[in-house]
Assembly symmetry: C2
Homo-oligomer: 241 residues x 2
Amino acid sequence: MTKEPSDIKALPEICKSCEARHKGICSNLSDQDLLFLSTQTTIATYDKGTVLVSEDAGRDIHANILKGVVKLTKSQRNGDDQIVGLQFAPDFLGRPLSDIGSTNAVTASEVRLCEFPKGVLDDMMARSPGLKDLLFRQAIIELEEAREWMLTLGRRTAKQKVAAFLLLVADQSDPEAAQAATGPVDVPIPLSRAEVAEFLGIKIETVSRSFTTLREEGMIQDRAPRLITIVDIAALRDLVA
Amino acid sequence: MTKEPSDIKALPEICKSCEARHKGICSNLSDQDLLFLSTQTTIATYDKGTVLVSEDAGRDIHANILKGVVKLTKSQRNGDDQIVGLQFAPDFLGRPLSDIGSTNAVTASEVRLCEFPKGVLDDMMARSPGLKDLLFRQAIIELEEAREWMLTLGRRTAKQKVAAFLLLVADQSDPEAAQAATGPVDVPIPLSRAEVAEFLGIKIETVSRSFTTLREEGMIQDRAPRLITIVDIAALRDLVA
DNA sequence: CGGCTCATTGATGTAGCTCAAGCCTGGTGG
DNA sequence: CCACCAGGCTTGAGCTACATCAATGAGCCG
């Protein structure tokens, strides 16, 4: 982990080019609120595999994701975890009401964060109702996504699960191409096979077999390790039903 | 469906004994806000199987649940649905930011609601920030519950799924007994076998077999149709891991 | 080059699905 | 009051998708 203290005067440098300023949580802050917030934040980069939020590890980061992918997980006593969601830039990461729940957050790649100290978030929410609205909105979006994923976990075959995963990632990495009715889409896969398995509730071998089936059927092609292209995204969408 | 217009002067009658007044969404309203709200609400009772919220049926009720059980569902084009959550009194039912998502709500029993007209909720949220906080809080709680259920859907066997369902219902219908470390708990089952199957992502026959296995193992006993007793709730909890 | 980790592939086992037959329970009508 | 029927639940017999166990291959780094 490396830290770079944010320079108070450097607001434009930090925030101007920041996605969170435009699409994320900061988009609704007044200039002076943003200036104040920027004096409180720390930019930090974490290696893959770092625990960012965990009840029993006592970590509870609140931050905007600037770069990278964070996986949200739930654990059982027996040891095997379930990935319950992924977060990408410029999502807000952290538990607004941190007394509730026991979801953990772990980096799935190198991740760069813009962190708020615990407590500053609450102050800002009290001060700027627009911020609270945005967090409320994100919570509702995440709730919908979670419920949508329950469909994938409960009602779909392994092949459909992998297809759903590819669509999710495609939509994240290249929204325009993914929304298009047709045409190939290049998709970087942000997770290892083991992590995909954890996300889909199946075993790693089954993930692998599903990938090769999709490849044999011409729906996807391998470009490089961790990079595939979806040949016909409409067909893939169709498969998921 | 039957309707009873709420009497403006009858605030005490309607709200005093209402769970929502104490534990639910109304608990944070001032007396005059509550009085105003009560002039806008309608008490209504719906038969089992009534669609309360559905994007494409054009229904979008906002209400407190006074009695009964509501199931939240997601549909696929292929026709088979997934129940993604249950709601009980005195939960708030409805989509605070109704532009997001496509979850449906259908009554699983006879249900009595205290309905707000669409729009009044937004007014009240703007007027009473405490109300917004409560809705925010409920959204986060539901998000955690959804993610917890993803564990059940993705990582557990049929028997464990049924056990998890019984624990969920027990905790809902008799929290004190369900929290207790030991002792039998009577649990009314609010769903048909078909609905339980839809909730757990398994087939109805498998639900049935799991029930009989649990019965044979002495973990549960049949009391009546739709009423079982959990003989040893700690053991059941243990099973789920 | 040897020793990693990660991914693929094959062979076999099994939980849960499918298909199909009873069986209660409650309602309806003679 | 009983006979009948319909819908929901249970049980059985076989099948299939995925898990498990095990071996091999491909990139990567010391």
